[in-house]
């Protein structure tokens, strides 16, 4: 288990090698990247079994304060800030720890990354910069794994930023397209705003804790070193970072645009892994959030709920298949946040995983569609089930899973969340959460049926199924999307269910509240039937509904004008201020403040030179005046 640090290191090592000599490697470096992540996947199992075999007494392992989970911690010195031994100096470490959340996330990331990279072999085939693509992928995987493993906020931040950059580079992978270029920039800057909060929060914790260690912070909360104000402020600041990364309102605007990147990238980074880093962060820092009456968690819950609801409505009207999925991602991230905010720790992690597999599947499925048809507007698609059966099936599985069709993974995880919300928060929350769940099923159904059912457009008749290198990962993911939910059950034997693995404070078994389960199942099935009728049968027309809600529809179709507000802020506030500063610098500071005195001196010189008139007598006069003056002063100054 002490070798778990190798999980990211494989990929870290692969990245520069691919950049430097990728051209000469097999598959232009793709093979190396896949091998690295595959090795990571293997080591994930080693770590898993290592952890399972460890106990409180094992070296480096202990029951962590705050999470009450068995945690194994390893670290090495990175660098010293300040002279070691002197007060006020800080020793920074490379360190990782392994606890249940880490292991769960490791599994998700290594597996999905592996799938996506294999899939990319097919999807990106023939791209001239494929080595670059895989290098960044490797770097991303490595950084993401580092976030998960990190035992200190600092290292977490380091990796956090690195995944941001990888996201930037991959969104802008086709940088010749202005849209991609702008989307990449937007993604980076918007998340960066959140990162300001994150960094300040980390520094704030450090300032009061004296260390960047995550468990150290928990300990400080436990023993009261961290005051209530600091804890709440730090939690909220950390949550700010999480909001940026996990695209919570109002920072959600970058994620739909990020779909300009290659679809596998969307699947990996913008659906399954990176965007859940925010959720992960909140989960990781949960002891901070729930300390002192859990005030920050209420904020988390509200933000999560609002995000989930708002973006679900947008997803319902979006027309681009990837954007539907993107908004759905945001919505589900919101649900996870809501769950965390409602003390549904386990549920959130569970949904994170289930959603990760399902959403990766959906994206890769849509990628398969896009790869084959080179279209992504659902209005231009339809009836693809006839030409792309495998894709249709796996996409349907993913959609059904995410839509909450019973026994699929999504059903269980969503149910867990709803249950947590109904327990943990005010009834208002559960009402809106249920609405979100309904909407979720609706847009999933819409995406599924509008794309794969209905009439096959003429020009798509010659479309072919994607190659196996793409469909095999799809199928593997589909298996998880179907069956993953079962791990939440209370199985007999050693594994008592997910609630005994990932938990907050104390393990708990599988719970099922019948009314919620039945209600959500009915809603999900109903939604799918409804969309089936609309898009496959065409027996229900939406035209009258559209007309009736035209005004609301316009607002929703314009994504609640978030982009416009941002644009306005940038154009009218940021750029104006920047231009003003630029102008101020040139006109006031430079031309007035700097050139001004210089000009005054020169002007003084030009004027002053007139005193040398060229007339002898004025020279003599000056001398006389000088003489008189000197005589008087000499006299006066002599006592």
């Amino acid at each position: 288990m002490q070798w778990a640090w190798l999980i990211p290191v494989f990929s870290f090592a692969a990245a520069p090698i691919i950049v430097l000599i990728g051209d000469r490697l097999p598959g232009k470096g793709a093979v190396l990247s896949i091998a690295a992540i595959a090795a990571g996947f293997v080591f994930f199992w080693i770590a898993l079994f290592g952890w399972m075999g460890a106990s409180d007494g094992t070296e480096h392992c202990y029951i962590a304060i705050g999470t009450e989970a068995l945690t194994c911690n390893y670290d090495r010195v990175w660098f010293n800030a300040g002279l070691p031994g002197l007060p006020g100096s800080v020793q920074l470490t490379w360190g990782f720890f392994i606890d249940p959340v880490t292991i769960a996330m490791l599994g998700l990331v290594t597996f999905v990354a592996l799938m996506v990279q294999i899939y990319s072999l097919g999807y990106m085939h023939g791209d001239p910069r494929i080595n670059w693509y895989f290098a960044v992928h490797a770097l991303f995987a490595a950084s993401m794994l580092t976030i998960i493993l990190s035992d200190s906020f600092l290292l977490l931040y380091v990796a956090w930023e690195l995944v941001g950059v990888c996201s930037y580079l991959l969104i802008g992978f086709w940088h010749e397209r202005p849209a991609a270029r702008e989307a990449a920039k937007k993604a980076f800057i918007v998340t960066r705003i959140g990162d300001v909060g994150l960094l300040i929060g980390i520094l704030l914790l450090w300032h009061h804790v004296g260390s960047f260690g995550i468990t150290d912070a928990f300990q400080a909360v436990q023993n009261g070193t961290l005051s209530e104000g600091v804890t709440i402020a730090a939690s909220l600041l950390l949550f700010l970072g999480a909001m940026g990364k996990s695209a919570q309102i109002p920072f959600h605007v970058w994620l739909p645009d990020a779909m300009e990147g290659p679809t596998p990238v969307s699947a990996l980074i913008h659906a399954a892994t990176m965007v859940v880093a925010g959720v992960f962060l909140v989960a990781r820092a949960y002891p901070l959030f729930e300390a002192y009456n859990a005030v920050p968690l209420l904020v988390v819950a509200i933000v999560g709920l609002v995000t989930a609801l708002v973006t679900a409505t947008i997803a319902l009207v979006a027309t681009d298949i990837k954007r539907i999925l993107a908004y759905s991602t945001v919505s589900h991230l919101g649900l996870m946040m809501l769950s965390l905010g409602a003390f549904g720790y386990t549920a959130a992690i569970f949904h994170l995983l289930a959603h990760g597999f399902a959403k990766a599947l959906l994206f890769l499925g849509s990628g398969s569609v896009i790869h084959s048809t080179e279209k992504q507007e659902i209005s231009e698609l339809g009836g693809l089930r006839r030409v792309m059966p495998i894709t249709t099936i796996v996409f349907a599985i993913g959609a059904a899973s995410l839509g909450g069709i019973p026994i699929l993974a999504g059903f269980w995880s969503k149910d867990e969340i709803l249950q947590a919300v109904s327990h943990g928060r005010n009834p208002v929350f559960i009402v809106f959460a249920l609405i979100t769940a309904l909407l979720s099923a609706l847009y999933m159904g819409r995406a599924l049926f509008a794309t794969f059912f209905g009439r096959l457009p003429h020009e798509l008749e010659h479309t072919h199924e994607s190659p196996p290198v793409m469909t095999v990962p799809l199928m593997l993911l589909a298996i998880l999307a179907i069956g993953f939910g079962l791990i939440s059950w209370n199985w007999p034997g050693a594994f008592g269910g997910f609630g005994y693995f990932v938990f907050n404070h104390k393990p708990h078994g599988f719970e099922f509240t019948w009314w919620i389960g039945i209600l959500s199942a009915v809603m999900a099935v109903g939604a799918f039937v409804l969309t089936y009728l609309i898009y496959e049968k065409g027996s229900i027309s939406l035209e009258s509904t559209r007309r009736r809600f035209a005004a609301i529809l316009r607002v929703v179709e314009n994504k609640y004008y978030f982009d416009e507000i941002y644009q306005w802020t940038i154009d009218r506030v940021v750029l104006v201020v920047a231009n003003f500063v630029g102008f101020f610098d040139r006109a006031i500071i430079n031309d007035v403040g700097i050139n001004g005195p210089a000009d005054v001196v020169r002007w003084a010189g030009i004027k002053l030179r007139l005193h040398v008139t060229g007339h002898l007598y004025s020279y003599a006069l000056a001398m006389v005046l000088g003489t008189v003056g000197l005589g008087i002063f000499w006299w006066l100054y002599t006592s």
């Binding site: 001196v601 010189g605 060229g614 001398m623 000088g626 003489t627 000197l630 000499w634 006592s639």
Partner: protein, 529 residues
């Protein structure tokens, strides 16, 4: 002891006078066109005299003629300096004299007389002796300033110089008469004793001292007695401009130093009161000299104002003189040497340029960096040095002097001096800019034209690049050579000698002035004890 028992100590002076007479005499027999020999002869004589003086007078400390003259390290030091200046001046004027002046022979003789005057100024310890020596120098300079008889500017400069000079002598003498009337003495030491003990004394004594300072202030071109300087500098033949700004100033400061150190500084409290007045004069000189220089376009005039500014700096050192410390007087002397050698470098270059083109405006220098790299580099180094930038003499001397000034409690004055050094940098840089950056007549500037207006031309960059990289650009300032063929030739050997020696000195003083300072310290001890 007879008054003249140690008359041999004046051998250098007698020999110098003899040398001058020899030059005058030889002038009569030498044919026109060989007059340069007189210059070489004078140089040889001066060099020999430097050697003789150093060998004979090193460490000697005696007075002659009842204390009218002093033969000490101070006077020796200045003598060597003055004769060195003489060597340089003659070297840098030989071409000029040959080409531009009549009466070539007498020129050197008069220069030698002026050096004699300076030497005696440095030695004199009595007002009248100092005055007469000063007049010997002044008369020589009047003549030399008006030497270019056919030049209206030279005439005008000479006339202004002699009239204002005579006027200032009258004021100075009136001061002498007042001091004499009150104290009954004219020797510096006796004046000091008189001033120190005077109480309930006629204030005409103080006014008299002020009048004496007016006369000396005129000589060093301190504001407000400076206005003659630009005109005379501009009118005078080029080497004489150099001589005025170097020799005349150094001699005047030698006298001021000795007068102040022996006559005023020992007075104690009163000197401390007077220091402030001198400091104000110094500040005024820096201000006016450096500000007005900003607006100058004529190189000689520029150098005139610059020399006024430098007078201010040196005067600051004089104002800081004190019995406690040799630093201010060391600083003044070091500054004088550094300033002299630097100015020789600058003027050597400018004179050579004038010999080649007959131009003396700043704008005429455009392209010199390309046509005459060595001249341009010398002028540039000189300018940087004058501005007080390091590696060159200017930095070390300014640093030393200003430190001394600050150390004596005139931090504000030192700060002002430092500030005006900055102002001066601007106009010195203007000259450098003309030589290196400004396009010469009829050619585009290097580096222009890659601006935004050339965006459309970006597609033919390749050709551009070809042009630039393959064919070496036409030599900078090449058009100037066509106008002035002399610019294409090497500067003459005399100028090269001046520049070479000057540059060595500039770097030496700038990097390691310590040995020089040892001699200066000895000189300071001679006057300050």
């Amino acid at each position: 002891m007879s008054l003249t028992s140690n008359l041999d100590l004046l051998t250098p002076e007698f020999a110098l006078a003899g040398l001058a007479f020899l030059v005058f005499a030889a002038d009569l027999v030498l044919p026109e066109g060989r007059k340069n020999l007189l210059g070489w002869f004078s140089i040889a004589g001066l060099l020999a005299l430097i050697a003789v003086s150093v060998i004979m007078l090193w460490g000697v400390e005696e007075t002659l003629y009842n204390g009218l003259l002093a033969v000490d390290d101070f006077s020796l030091w200045f003598k060597v300096l003055f004769m060195g200046i003489g060597v340089f001046i003659i070297l840098s004027s030989m071409d000029f004299v040959t080409e531009n002046l009549e009466h070539k022979g007498e020129f050197y003789g008069i220069v030698l007389f002026s050096i004699l005057g300076m030497n005696i100024m440095a030695q004199s310890r009595e007002l009248l002796t100092a005055y007469i020596a000063l007049e010997l120098l002044s008369f020589s300079l009047y003549v030399l300033a008006a030497y270019a008889r056919d030049s209206a500017k030279s005439n005008e400069g000479g006339l202004k110089y002699i009239i204002i000079g005579a006027f200032s002598s009258a004021i100075l003498l009136y001061g002498v008469s007042m001091v004499y009337a009150v104290l009954g003495v004219t020797k510096f030491e006796a004046i000091a004793a008189g001033l120190a003990t005077a109480s309930e004394v006629s204030p005409s004594l103080w006014v008299g001292v002020a009048f004496i300072l007016v006369g000396l202030g005129f000589k060093v071109a301190a504001v407000p007695f400076h206005m003659w300087a630009p005109d005379v500098y501009e009118g005078a033949p080029y080497p004489i401009t150099a001589y005025l700004s170097i020799g005349s100033k150094a001699a005047a400061f030698a006298l001021v130093l000795r007068l102040a150190a022996e006559g005023f500084v020992p007075v104690g409290d009163r000197w401390e009161q007077w220091q402030l007045i001198l400091a104000v004069l110094a500040a005024l000189s820096m201000l006016v000299g450096n500000l007005v220089a900003l607006a100058q376009r004529n190189l000689k005039r520029l150098m005139a104002y610059s020399s006024i500014g430098h007078s201010g700096f040196i005067l600051a050192g004089v104002a800081a003189l004190s019995l406690d410390s040799n630093l201010p007087s060391n600083g003044v002397m070091l500054y004088l040497v550094g300033y002299s050698v630097t100015n020789f470098v600058v003027f050597g270059g400018l004179i050579s340029f004038f010999n080649m083109t007959g131009k003396e405006m700043m704008s005429d220098l455009a392209g010199l960096g390309g046509t005459q790299p060595f001249l341009a580099a010398s002028i540039a180094i000189g300018m940087f040095s004058l501005a007080g930038l390091p590696i060159f003499a200017g930095f070390a001397i300014k640093f030393y002097l200003f430190t001394a000034v600050a150390d004596e409690g005139f931090l504000w004055l030192a700060g002002l001096a430092v500030f005006f050094s900055l102002v001066s940098l601007y106009y010195y840089l203007q000259v450098i800019r003309q030589m290196y950056i400004q396009p010469a007549e009829g050619e585009p500037a290097f580096g222009h034209g890659y601006g935004y207006e050339h965006i459309d031309a970006a597609h033919d960059d390749e050709e551009h690049d070809e042009d630039e990289h393959q064919q070496p650009a036409r030599r900078y300032g090449a058009a100037m050579i066509e106008t002035y063929p002399a610019l294409g030739r090497r500067p003459s050997i005399t100028i090269l000698a001046v520049l070479g020696a000057g540059l060595v000195a500039v770097f030496w003083i700038g990097i390691y002035p310590s040995p020089l300072l040892d001699t200066i310290d000895a000189a300071s001890r001679a006057i300050l004890g």
